[in-house]
Symmetry: C2
């Protein structure tokens, strides 16, 4: 009889099993908490995925904060777009550009400390429910900030506050402390084919 | 004399070299084109990074389109947020939910074909400069759509139109045709620790 089962029936059966597994998995998850999310790796999409999450949080009515540790004070498309939401989002671009632009370690350290101080203020603000610490990993990697102090503050986040940290080379201690870690892996990049950075895509 | 060079001077020198390399690399890139971008892999961030790019494109004033092949007709945070931009973004959620929800292959195929038809319309619209084809990879993987026809259309995109395709298991032919491919790799997921899907993060 087995070979008389139609493809459709087989498909239906397989999918019914999968739905049962899926439903059981969902039911088993009951914890709600403030997540510490890390986007790392050499691929594209670390910051953009953080801003995609920001867009989702905005849509759910959460008040949000963004602190950019790496970027200099230039206006990106995402920042312009987010201005539409007024004071629902506090956006702070506090880096001095990448370090090979500034060529001054003391200045990089001072900029990282300023940015971290703003991040601490956002974390302490009870109205702020979602925070992006963009390129914080770079400041940690170059020891512009002390990992111990940063981790202590991140671990003490409130249960109703989600924090996303981006940047290459996330430290092992940060990955250990995080709830969700994604590594963006570069498979193929158009820069290698001579394509330039274009408005609306790269900035 | 070498050991008298200060750390600061060494740092400055290293960063100056890096800046020179960086500047030369930027200058060598001259091509502008409509990019085909693929986000694949088992990790989180494929769709959210596409929506982060959408936010950037919105901020640059580009008219945009979104077609969701996988999701059922429920309202996500990102969609709610994007409504703020009125008709700058056309958002079409045309899936019937995941296939283990519908348990009906013919219905999945019909839904994929409807979504693809809308995608073709957006690609043909000269005012649309940026398109997200969310979870198209799933429709291709299950052969709900024919890869040859989809690839032909994607390759024929206009030079002023960027297209982002998301979903696990991107087909090799699509990766071959793409300009930029990122694989989102799952390092750690909070669902495994019993944390439930939370509003503002997962939806």
């Amino acid at each position: 009889m087995t070979n008389e089962i139609s493809d459709d029936a087989r498909h239906k059966n397989k999918m019914a099993n999968r739905k049962a597994v899926q439903d059981a998995e969902v039911a088993a998850k009951t914890i709600e908490k403030g997540l510490l999310i890390v986007h790392t790796g050499k691929g594209k999409g670390k910051s953009t995925a953080a801003f995609g999450l920001l867009l989702r949080a905005i849509g759910r009515g959460l008040r949000c904060g963004v602190v950019q540790f790496g970027k200099g004070a230039w206006q990106t498309g995402e920042r312009t777009a987010v201005e539409r939401f007024g004071d629902q989002v506090q956006w702070h671009t506090l880096g001095e550009g990448f370090t090979w632009e500034t060529q001054d370690r003391a200045r990089d350290v001072a900029a990282a400390e300023r940015a971290w101080s703003v991040a601490r203020d956002l974390m302490a603000d009870p109205s702020i429910r979602f925070i992006v610490l963009d390129e914080l990993n770079i400041s940690l990697r170059y020891d512009h900030l002390e990992i111990g102090a940063v981790l202590e503050a991140l671990k003490a986040r409130r249960p109703d506050q989600h924090i996303v940290v981006t940047g290459r080379n996330a430290k092992a201690e940060l990955i250990e402390a995080a709830d969700l870690v994604t590594e963006m892996t570069l498979v193929k990049h158009h820069f290698a084919a001579g394509v330039k950075a274009q408005e609306g895509i790269e900035f």
